[in-house]
């Protein structure tokens, strides 16, 4: 099958690019190595829409971050994704750090971040009663927000699907050739042809560049792992805003933030590793997360932890080696016509993503892709019921329409059978336990999916018409029940 555009990678950057391209009369195919979209850095990050004062002035990163942040409220509304513009506070503990805040403030102003202010200790404590007594000032950026990153990505992909974009998951690109101006992209089983190729492969974007024949790629990717702890909703009120320490060369440091679903997230560490797909947590890393979180919020109850996880961010390292000057590697290939790189997108990739998607479309147009607007374009996605958030009357009504919405499967997160069945039959529908979890939050709660996982396995088997012992946790060999049927 031949497409106008083939996007490699269904993380937030690839997803937003697909969504923005779906407005036009172009055929698009998205290839994803994993079994689901949003499985790389998009799945495991701080879930923050940064205001845009971190990036060096004049970089693409700065411009896309500030624009993406401004787009996020409308973008999330269209996609029916919960978004909370709670604002962020970078906390300073000394005069030297206050000087740093002033630098950040100046940089933010130049980047175009609106409404920032440096607040003193008293105001900081009024805003954040649980902040460390040692914090003396903070940079307040009211435009920052929180969003569930994989939900945003899944929503963007669902939107792309209903507007005609093709997705192929479990498609790990092994070879790319180009003949007569057409790319042929294969995973060894199937070939996808396209006139334009977009490299949005995250930590693997440097490898994809090489496969695509790029001879002038300016950087390589260092996988940098960030470990996190997610705390119970009981702790969600410990922070009202995204709380940062003053940044260092290693990144923005350990943060404490409420999540849009009401939990509290702590992290990340930042450790360069060798294996791009190694998302294990470590004892030392989790200790660092706890200590870093206590630096900001000394009374944080890390015993109320629900889970620990880690994500691997694609840190671009340019030939000149200066990691602090690194920008997103977004550029039209000079050696391979028709190839566009959206590479090296680490933080603030999530915040930037709607702007990055639009920018990618502009670049593709510049490369010669002909764009005419589609009359049938729909900006949203199929309606999604979140039973937990409904009013009493709405709850009564949805159960009347479909009794499966009256059956709670996940008691911790109040997720109904109706929502799980919907997640299975939606565009890019759930095929395993973790896909159900990311789409419904079933299994995301304090019991660690102990109660709901057997029920969810049963529902998946029933809806997909397969035996229970073929259902996996996350695709591949992650079969839940591998000891055989009794």
């Amino acid at each position: 099958m031949k497409y106008d555009v083939c996007i490699i990678g269904a993380g937030i950057t690839g997803a937003m690019t697909a969504r923005k391209l779906a407005k036009y009369n172009v055929s698009v195919c998205v290839l994803e190595a994993a079994g689901d979209v949003a499985m790389g850095a998009t799945k495991a990050n701080s879930a923050i829409v940064h205001a845009g004062f971190d990036a060096e002035c004049g970089t693409l990163k700065a411009a896309l971050n500030v624009k993406g942040c401004a787009m996020m409220p409308a973008e999330t509304k269209e996609l029916d994704v919960p978004y909370k513009q709670c604002g962020s506070l970078v906390c300073a503990y000394s005069d030297a750090e206050i000087a740093h805040l002033e630098q950040l403030y100046a940089r933010g102003c130049e980047n175009g971040v609106p409404d920032m202010r440096i607040v003193g200790g008293d105001e900081l404590r009024a805003m954040e009663p649980n902040i460390s007594p040692d914090a003396v000032a903070a940079l307040w950026a009211p435009t920052a927000g929180i969003v569930c990153p994989y939900e945003l990505c899944i929503a963007a992909c669902e939107n792309a699907v209903i507007n005609g974009v093709q997705f192929k998951t479990n498609f790990r690109v092994t070879n790319i050739t180009k003949e007569n101006g057409t790319f042929a992209v294969t995973d060894g089983n199937e070939i996808v042809y396209a006139d334009y190729l977009v490299n949005a492969a995250g930590v693997h974007s440097d490898e994809i560049a090489v496969l695509a024949g790029e001879t002038d790629f300016p950087m390589h990717v260092i996988p940098r792992r960030g470990e996190y702890m997610l705390l119970d909703r009981s702790e969600g009120k410990m922070a009202n805003h995204v709380l940062f320490s003053c940044p260092s060369a290693n990144g923005k440091g350990i943060l404490v933030s409420p999540t849009v679903d009401g939990n509290l997230i702590l992290g990340p560490t930042a450790k360069a590793i060798d294996d791009k797909d190694d998302t294990a947590t470590t004892t030392d890393g989790l200790m660092e997360v706890q200590n870093g979180a206590r630096h900001l919020v000394p009374t944080v109850n890390t015993r109320a932890v629900i889970t620990q996880f880690s994500g691997v961010r694609p840190t671009p390292v340019y030939a000149d080696g200066d990691i602090t000057k690194s920008d997103f590697c977004i550029r039209i290939s000079e050696t391979v016509p028709g190839l566009l790189h959206l590479a090296g997108i680490e933080s603030p990739g999530l915040a930037s993503s709607p702007a990055t998607g639009e920018y990618a479309v502009e670049l593709l147009a510049k490369m010669g892709l002909s764009l005419t607007e589609k009359s049938s374009y729909t900006p949203g996605r199929p309606k999604k019921i979140r039973f937990r958030e409904l009013s009493d009357e709405e709850r009564a009504e949805v159960i009347k329409q479909n009794p499966l919405y009256g059956k709670i499967i996940c008691r911790c997160e109040t997720v109904t059978e109706g929502e799980i069945v919907d997640a299975i039959h939606r565009p890019l529908g759930a095929r395993d336990l973790d896909m159900v979890k990311r789409r419904t939050r079933a299994g995301m709660g304090r019991c660690g999916s102990g109660f709901c996982s057997p029920r969810t396995v049963e529902i998946l088997a029933r809806e997909l018409g397969v035996p229970m012992d073929t259902i996996t946790k996350c695709g591949g060999n992650s079969v839940i029940l591998n000891g055989g049927k009794k």
């Binding site: 996880f309 009794p403 009256g406 304090r446 102990g450 049963e458 229970m468 060999n477 029940l481």
Partner: protein, 428 residues
Amino acid sequence: MDAKKIIIIGGGPAGLAAAIEANNQGIAPDDILILERDRELGGILNQCIHAGFGLHMFGEEMTGPEYAGRFIDIVKERNIGYLCNAMVLSVSPDREVAFVSPTEGFCRVKAGAIILAMGCRERTRGALNIAGTRPAGIYSAGTAQRYVNIDGYLPGKKVVILGSGDIGLIMARRLTLEGAKVLRVCELMPYSGGLPRNIAQCLDDFDIPLYLSHTVTEIHGRERVEGVTVAKVGDDRRPIVGTEEYIECDTLLLSVGLLPENELSREAGIALDRITGGAVVDETMQTSIPGVFACGNVLHVHDLVDFVTKEAYRAGAAAAKFVTGETVPGGNIRTGTVLSTEGKNGVRYVMPQKLHADGALSTETALFFRVDNIYRDKYVVLSVDGREITKTKKRFLEPGQMENVRLTDGAIDAIKTGKTVTVSLADA
């Protein structure tokens, strides 16, 4: 749905017994409503197909489903109201229960009294901060039990069990009988939290080694568990560097403790005990909200269901008295002196946490407690305001076994003028 005299949240052993006793005390069957979130009554007993239940209540050894069946039969014979697949979403301080069910939809129902009997949940991998990957093959012991005993699937073939709680021990035997190889059971503490009879019957009889003072420090395998690292722990319960050992396995079972499920209680504003994780109750099982009672594992984790049943009978009787207007200490109008109970010198907690000086105390009234370590040859001392009232010699006390001390006439007299009732251990 019309208001009910008594709504019982949970149709496991506690809820069933509470309903039956409320009915015994004169509450009409259709004035009682048991709300059960699962598809059938019986609670966790339905998946506990091993024997050992009922020795205290019925003087015979029964399986979990048999034990539950006795109570379910009575509930059905008497037409006591119950609704399955019904999940309670909230309880309000003025005793209104909001729940959903596929058949009834969304309902808010007023209750004369509420009995909390939601049971408990298992501690998870997350709570232990075990580092490593997050593959398939990590189960709490209860989840694995459900897969094997209800769904009929074996979750894995080569199993390491962390924690020697009773469910873990039972599952070590169960998985072995079903053909899996249980390589070892690791226990963080220098003693097991399980019942001695379960160590003997579930591990020793099957030559499954128990490694005390050991824990799992890392999980390996990206898609399915491929192995775990275990290490010996020191007196501080931290892993000792250099003692790590890699064990190849495809399954890690966790039996690392049970937590009363009190999210509903907390949201209703009911005072909770920091140590038990359950509500603070008085001798009638009444919580800090008048007319709301609690019993079973939602109150404190029990080792034997027989004691859950007895506790639930007390809650059911008191709830019945509450709605019929009989005097219940601490009821609508609180009268008399309220005493606090406390545990000291090795006693971790005492339940009930409150006693009424003018209440329904009798020599049948018992204070339940657990110790915080293994003790030999100790006196269990009951004192009021520091004055020793009774002492009972115990040859052996361990955290895995719930203990109790009954009030004597002397104790009841002392309580009438006292403030604090203490249960403590003293050298024999």
